[in-house]
């Protein structure tokens, strides 16, 4: 059925208000976007890696989740979702359950790119029927904006502060979506919040309703960590896509597909200039940073185009 935002927003919210995430947080937008793709009649078990999302969405005795929810630790959301799914399979086999349940794990980039990567990789390889969603805000925001392997080069983070000798994070961002795709799982994709959420919705729907393991990487801006006014979230997401810093693509059973190609690929500055974490890159004498950032984006974009041919 064709996507209709109007229809989709009529569905009951599965993440209610009253959670304690920051004003303008991308994480809850990602969660709402993904859960909207669930058929209302299907139940879900949500797993959460320790993260901003986790500590804000289930502060005893208040859960923001309408569905069953389990948090156990930082680095094990993959295994946790897999464990619940394994129990589901056996209880279903034994005739103890007849409802349909879907298994969705949410982790930040710290819990996904870094400390939870092993558990995620294991769960993907074992083939659990689950979706792992990374809401990628490019640093450890829960503990106070420390760099992760998802933090882009030159970003000012509290463990890669811009100093007189080192200009922010020295390393480039890890390409996690490609790493997960290399597990040869049925479905992997990356998306963010643009226009009417069609891209996110359709990817979430495919991820949830494709049998077997699926992975969604959702760029989810963090106003505090990226240093911008919360109201500008949509603008930043659009810039990320139009500069090809965060391309929208999916990999279905090993086939790469580009979902959006900007009519005019914007220079990377258009994304960087909106955020305080990259402010130093625009100082006189730092032109080389912008140049290197542009070169990196160009090279990654060309690689992606080649893969999607």
């Amino acid at each position: 059925m064709a996507y209709s935002l109007k229809k989709e927003v009529e569905k009951p919210e599965r993440l209610v208000g009253g959670h304690r995430l920051c004003a303008g947080c991308g994480a809850s937008i990602a969660v709402r976007g993904v859960l909207r793709a669930l058929k209302p009649e299907d139940k879900a078990v949500i797993t959460n890696a320790t993260s901003c999302l986790e500590v804000s969405s289930f502060l005893y005795p208040f859960t923001a989740w309408q569905d069953s929810y389990i948090h156990s630790a930082f680095e094990n959301a993959g295994a946790t979702a897999g464990g619940a799914e394994a129990a589901y399979r056996v209880l279903k086999k034994k005739g103890k359950i007849d409802e349909t349940f879907k298994f969705i794990a949410f982790g930040g980039d710290g819990g996904t790119y870094d400390i939870g990567l092993q558990s995620l990789s294991g769960a993907m390889e074992r083939g659990h029927d689950m979706v792992y969603v990374c809401y990628d805000n490019e640093a450890y925001m829960n503990t106070g904006i420390q760099r992760s392997s998802s933090t882009p080069r030159f970003a000012d983070a509290t463990t890669t502060p811009v100093g007189t000798v080192i200009p922010g994070k020295p390393q480039n961002k890890k390409d996690l979506t490609a790493i997960i795709a290399a597990h040869n799982i049925p479905y992997a994709a990356q998306t963010t919040f643009i226009s009417n959420f069609k891209d996110l919705h359709e990817k979430a729907e495919k991820a949830i309703y494709t049998e077997g393991p699926a992975f969604l990487n959702i760029m989810s801006p963090c106003p505090r960590g990226w240093r911008y006014d919360p109201e500008n979230l949509a603008e930043i997401c659009k810039a990320a896509v139009d500069t090809c810093v965060w391309p929208l693509y999916e990999i279905e059973y090993g086939v790469w597909k580009l979902n959006y190609e900007p009519k005019k690929k914007l220079p990377v500055e258009e994304f960087l200039k909106l955020q305080g974490r990259f402010k130093h890159m625009f100082k006189k004498g730092n032109e080389w940073m912008l140049e290197e950032a542009q070169n990196y984006v160009d090279q990654k974009w060309e690689t992606l185009l080649a893969r999607c041919k």
Binding site: K43, V45, T47, E54, V55, F58, L59, Y60, P61, T63, W65, Q66, D67, S68, Y69, I70, H71, S72, A73, E75, N76, G78, A79, T80, A81, G82, G83, A84, A86, A87, Y88, R89, V90, L91, K93, K94, K96, I97, E99, F101, Q118, S119, S121, G122, A123, E125, R126
Partner: protein, 398 residues
């Protein structure tokens, strides 16, 4: 009635698992527990159980799998040893605080530094405060019997705590000995169905597990956990009683050997208790009033019961198969000596750390320890309380 067989400790535990037919097993290989998931995987492959066997990529994920599966409404088991359990450490606390009665077969092995694959209790003793019920086994028979009793204990509504059933790596896990097995139906009936009140996959209402607990709630939840551990004691005894009716084999919080008139006693855990029993048999023939207490249940700790059982002895040697580097004694010593504190007439107490990393202890060593107790009573001088036995020393030593 019962089935006579000869099995290693690992085979025995795997066989108990098969008879129980749990819902999910999450496991990762580590010596010396590896055989348990291996045997179990064979049962899975041959369709002898319905279990979803999740061969995870680490022990951390093994325990994560078990926690989620148990929360989902299934019965979850694992087996591990040593560093494997150390890697689970974070999640041991999660399982117990979320009140999920996961069952673990722990095949005790020394913790690394340096690496060593042989037996001691440093792994489980390191996790003694993680909120798990800990039951120790002397023999393959006890490992089997204890594993069958674990679920009725842990799943009891007044308890709801995870249980680890420990046996000594290689010493019992890889040693074939005679064993009496129960019929499948009897085990199934004894263990029963797992019927939690709330679980993730429940149709009627959702369940949220693992909150962020601010200071205003955390302590109340810890108090609940502490109470649950207290509740476990009578439950352990009543499950043991039912098990005795089924099997004829009797279990308590600890086993007393020749304690009625004993003047000198050992307190010990695990397989070496059997070796000490042989020493007692020989020394009793010489008219020496020696006895021992073998701790079966270390968590909850049988504090009052131990004080009562040791009230009449003159001297006691507490045997620790784990270091705690307190510079004053091992973990069992600390707790046993604390138990003795309330007695009006306390026995003299010394500690022996023994058997680390598979260092053998034999009948003669126990005879020597009873001699030492005799010496302490005769001279009235306890001397050094924190002792080690079995290591080489300049100028000899025991």
């Amino acid at each position: 009635m019962t089935i006579r067989d000869r099995l290693s400790g690992n085979e025995a535990v795997a066989y108990a698992m098969k008879q129980i037919n749990p819902d999910v097993m999450g496991a990762f290989p580590i010596t010396p527990s590896t055989e348990i998931p291996q045997y179990f995987a064979t049962y899975v492959s041959n369709g002898e159980v319905d279990t979803e066997f999740v061969a995870v990529e680490s022990e951390h994920s093994a325990m994560s799998t078990c926690i989620a599966a148990q929360a989902a409404g299934g019965r979850a088991i694992t087996a591990t040893s040593s560093c494997g359990m150390a890697l689970m450490w974070e999640l041991l606390y999660v399982a117990s605080s979320a009140r999920l009665p996961v069952t673990m077969a722990l095949v005790n092995r020394a913790l690394t530094g340096p690496i060593n694959i042989n037996n001691d209790h440093s792994d489980s003793m390191g996790a003694r405060d993680s909120g798990w019920i800990q039951i120790y086994s002397e023999t393959n028979q006890e490992a089997y019997d204890n594993f069958i009793q674990a679920m009725p204990i842990g799943e009891n509504k007044e308890v709801r705590l995870p249980v680890m059933v420990c046996q000594d790596g290689f010493i019992t896990s890889h040693a074939v000995e005679n064993i009496e097995l129960l019929e499948d139906e009897k085990v199934k009936e004894f263990v029963g169905e797992y019927c939690p009140e709330n679980y993730l996959l429940k149709k009627e209402n959702p369940l949220a597990v693992g909150p962020y607990d601010i200071s205003n709630y955390y302590m109340e939840h810890k108090k609940q956990q502490a109470e649950a551990m207290k509740n476990a004691k009578p439950v352990i005894l009543s499950v043991a009683k039912k098990f005795e009716e089924l099997s004829g084999r009797s279990y308590g919080l600890f086993e007393e050997v020749e304690m009625d008139d004993a003047e000198y006693a050992l307190v010990i855990i695990g397989s070496s208790a059997g070796t000490a029993k042989e020493a007692i048999r020989r020394l009793r023939k010489e008219g020496k009033k020696v006895g021992l207490i073998k701790i079966r249940v270390f968590r909850p700790f049988p504090m009052e019961e131990l004080a009562k059982a040791l009230g009449h002895v003159k001297a006691v040697a507490v045997m620790d198969k784990a270091e705690s580097f307190s510079a004053c004694g091992g973990p069992l010593f600390a707790e046993v000596r604390s138990a003795l504190y309330d007695l009006d007439h306390r026995p003299k107490a010394i500690n022996y750390v023994y058997g680390l990393g598979g260092r053998d202890i034999c009948v003669e060593d126990f005879a020597y320890i009873y001699d030492q107790l005799d010496e302490i009573v005769k001279t009235g001088k306890t001397g050094e309380t924190y002792r080690h036995i079995g290591q080489r020393e300049l100028g000899g030593g025991r």
